[in-house]
């Protein structure tokens, strides 16, 4: 079982649209071992752009 704090941290990150970088690395290693994954800052910027710059900008009333 993962610690409560780690889960809280992950929740807070996903609330602002930042998925887990560790999960991304795991995915890349499993499915696309031939490609170089994005570094953490690149990953962060990519997700920021995807959340706010794209069509997912709608926030609720």
């Amino acid at each position: 079982m993962r610690g409560f704090l780690a889960r809280l941290r992950e929740t807070a990150h996903l609330m602002v649209g930042l998925p887990s970088y560790a999960a991304y690395l795991r995915h890349m290693a499993e499915r696309h071992p031939e490609r170089t994954p994005m570094s953490e800052p690149e990953f962060f910027r990519d997700r920021q752009e995807a959340r706010y710059g794209g069509k997912n900008g709608g926030r609720c009333c």
Binding site: H27, M28, R45, Q48, Y52, C60, C61
Partner: protein, 681 residues
């Protein structure tokens, strides 16, 4: 035996509800409402949500979700249930469930409470859950695409158009709430203005110094916010700085329009993203703290269960209980906007179909709980203060003495001294006619928080904390909403001029942004200069449009159930659809054609144009130019109502057509991705 705890919840809930409904004369404790809500929500989740999951949707945990089929580590990520719940709740909860119930309190706490409880269980949570389910079975597509897939291209375009109009009204109403909360309030204005440089500093930090350290940068921002609130008091008191941060509503309106235009073309990392961190965490934290403090304080409700204003003569908004209560509390009971969120990022992150009830239905129950707390907040205030804050200036007159007399006349005795003292307690020059719901909620939150932390001396701090918390996430919504509106507009204009679709080209983007800002700016300016206070006029239009979107989403869900050949369960969505159609169509109709000029836009316009033809100036207008503006605004609002009615009725036509066609077919025609489909690479 396994039903035993649930029976206990049901009995406790029913008992609490009966206390709320039957207690007369004696003020009841807020905890009765909280208890009733929690018990009803738990029972509804355990039985109704799981019934829908098992029989209506037939969720299949072994069926791969989009997060598994299309896993990419970025958009499609199988996410733990509780983590995703937080994400989804943060996306759906906004200002709506806080403001609507505060406005609805003018009829007493009982009608609002009953509508929130029944509405969320039977309509709101069902809508969110169903849309999530439908999107989850179709690769996490958005509502517009889903409607196009299942009901045809014409229906899809109408839905997209309707959504855009609703977005524009929503942004105008949200901006109006900020204007009402910050006008003539240097302390509030300073703290909100301070968030702009603060967010930019945070943005630079997260971009270059420590990329991706969201927690760290948010903590720095939070400390900055608290300092801004603390120093805001001295700034407001300063003879030099105080006047610089004091703005009239019209000045604030132009500031906001300019802000919206600039902010929505800035790079996202500079202002939008960092402020979103602050507003999201502040929102979640404040909601949790409010729940905790209400339980600790256990305040009695001072608002009567029912006021005389159920007959439609209320000063906060015009109209009788049916249908107008049901559109005033939109978010919290049922919110059409959620259908966009439930078909947004959440369906792409869900790890198993078995998680859908908890996330789709459960998160909406949580939002209803927020609405219940807002209603409790408004109801623990002295009703005299509530009506002095929420009635239009035209009713209250120029000063505390006239306001106290007017409110006492309504049957809620209050003295001028009490009003002045209440304003002083929260560090404001006046609380008279601070409409829009946000200031009222802030006074209530100051009351509740200061009871637990800091005592009466901290009231002013907590009041400005609450205003900041509301203004912050409204500004984030204005900024993000303008961007989203821009893309919708480009999509729509692209139907006739395909070159407009290019989201990377500069000119179409700027034109679409300009149009979007001009759209909500127009309604904002209209609201700010409305002699009746704006909220009075705009909130019902927003409520009607939001509930119509919900009706549209539920019609779509019904059509999908027919296409799945599950029409024997279609009542699950058809009953709330019918109720919402009855409420919104009759409210829209009354707003258009009611002979009472307080309610009907056209009769109001007729009354004023007749007077203008006679050369008479009617209050609250002060000149012929103001008369003309009132008439023009009335006609625009009437046209908007007519447009919303046309959108919802044409979608009803398409939904019925789809259902009839689906019944004729002997096979299911819903276009789900088959359970056996191989994952895409």
């Amino acid at each position: 035996m396994r039903h035993l705890p649930w029976i206990v919840f049901a009995v406790v809930g029913a008992f609490a509800l009966s206390v709320i409904a039957t207690e007369r004369g004696e003020p009841i404790n807020a905890l009765w409402i909280v208890t009733a809500a929690v018990c009803i929500f738990l029972v509804a989740y355990r039985y109704y949500a799981l019934y829908i999951a098992k029989h209506v949707m037939r969720l299949d945990p072994s069926r791969p979700t989009p997060a598994l089929r299309r896993a990419d580590g970025l958009d499609y990520v199988a996410t733990e249930k509780t983590v995703l719940f937080g994400h989804h709740f943060a996306a759906i909860a906004g200002a709506g469930p806080l403001v609507g119930p505060v406005l609805a309190a003018q009829m007493g706490y009982l009608p609002g409470t009953l509508w929130i409880l029944a509405g969320v269980v039977l309509a709101g949570a069902v809508q969110d859950f169903m849309v999530l389910f439908i999107s989850m079975r179709r690769d996490g597509r958005s509502l517009g695409e889903l409607v196009r897939m299942e009901m045809g291209a014409a229906a899809g375009t109408i839905a997209l158009f309707g959504t855009l109009m609703i977005m524009i009204i929503l942004l105008a109403v949200l901006a109006l709430i900020v204007v009402k909360a910050l006008a003539e309030s240097p302390w509030g204005m300073f703290t909100v203005a301070a968030t702009v440089p603060l967010a930019m500093a945070m943005g630079a930090y997260a971009r270059w110094i420590r990329p991706g350290k969201v927690g760290e940068v948010s903590l720095i921002g939070f400390v900055g916010l608290i300092l801004a609130i603390i120093y805001g008091q001295q700034i407001a008191a300063s003879p030099v700085w105080g006047p610089i941060f004091t703005f009239t509503p019209v000045q604030l309106c132009w500031l906001l329009i300019g802000y919206g235009a600039v902010a929505s073309v800035l790079p996202v990392w500079l202002l939008l993203a960092p402020r979103d961190y602050l507003s999201t965490f502040l929102k979640i934290g404040a909601i949790a703290a409010l729940a905790l403090c209400i339980v600790i304080m256990a305040p009695p409700l001072r608002m009567p269960a029912l006021t005389q204003f159920v007959d439609g003569s209320g000063p906060v908004w015009a109209g009788t209980l049916f249908p107008f209560l049901f559109i005033t509390i939109a978010c919290g009971a049922v919110s059409g906007f959620h259908s966009l969120i439930a078909s947004g990022t959440t369906p792409k992150l869900i790890a198993s179909e078995a998680h859908a009830p908890f996330i789709g239905y459960g998160a909406m129950l949580m939002e209803a709980f927020v609405a219940v707390m807002a209603l409790v907040g408004a109801s623990i205030l002295d009703p005299g203060i509530y009506f002095a804050m929420n009635s239009p200036a035209a009713v209250l007159g120029p000063d505390a003495a006239s306001a106290a007399a007017a409110v006492t006349n309504m049957g809620f005795p209050i003295t001028a001294d009490a009003l002045t003292q209440a304003a002083k307690d929260v560090g404001e020059a006046t609380i008279i006619s601070r409409t829009g719901g946000a200031p009222t909620l802030a006074v209530a939150m100051a009351e509740i928080f200061s009871h637990v932390i800091g005592g009466p001396g901290m009231k002013a701090f907590w009041y400005h904390f609450a205003i900041l918390f509301e203004a912050l996430f409204i500004l984030t919504a204005v900024d993000a909403g303008t961007r989203a509106g821009r893309f919708m507009l480009q999509d729509l204009i692209g139907l006739v001029a395909p070159r407009f679709r290019d989201t990377n080209a500069l000119a179409p983007g700027l034109v679409a942004t300009g149009l979007c800002v001009a759209g909500w700016g127009f309604f904002l300016y209209q609201g700010v200069t409305d002699p009746l206070g704006g909220v009075n006029t705009l909130w019902p239009v927003f409520g009607i449009s939001n509930q119509m979107l919900a009706a549209m989403a539920l019609m779509f869900c019904t059509a999908v159930l027919f296409r799945m050949k599950r029409e024997r369960y279609a009542w699950v969505t058809a009953i709330p659809t019918a109720w919402l159609l009855i409420c919104t169509v009759s409210a829209g109709w009354l707003k258009l054609f009611s002979p009472d000029p307080k309610i009907g836009f056209l009769s109001h316009a007729a009354k004023f144009s007749e007077a203008a033809a006679r050369g008479e100036v009617l209050a609250p207008a002060k000149s012929m130019a103001e008369m003309d503006r009132i008439i023009f605004n009335d006609r625009i609002d009437a046209a908007l109502c007519a447009l919303f009615l046309a959108v919802v009725l044409s979608l009803l036509f398409f939904a019925v057509k789809t259902c009839i066609a689906a019944r004729r077919s002997s096979e299911p025609t819903a276009r789900e991705i088959p359970a056996s489909a191989v994952p895409a690479e």
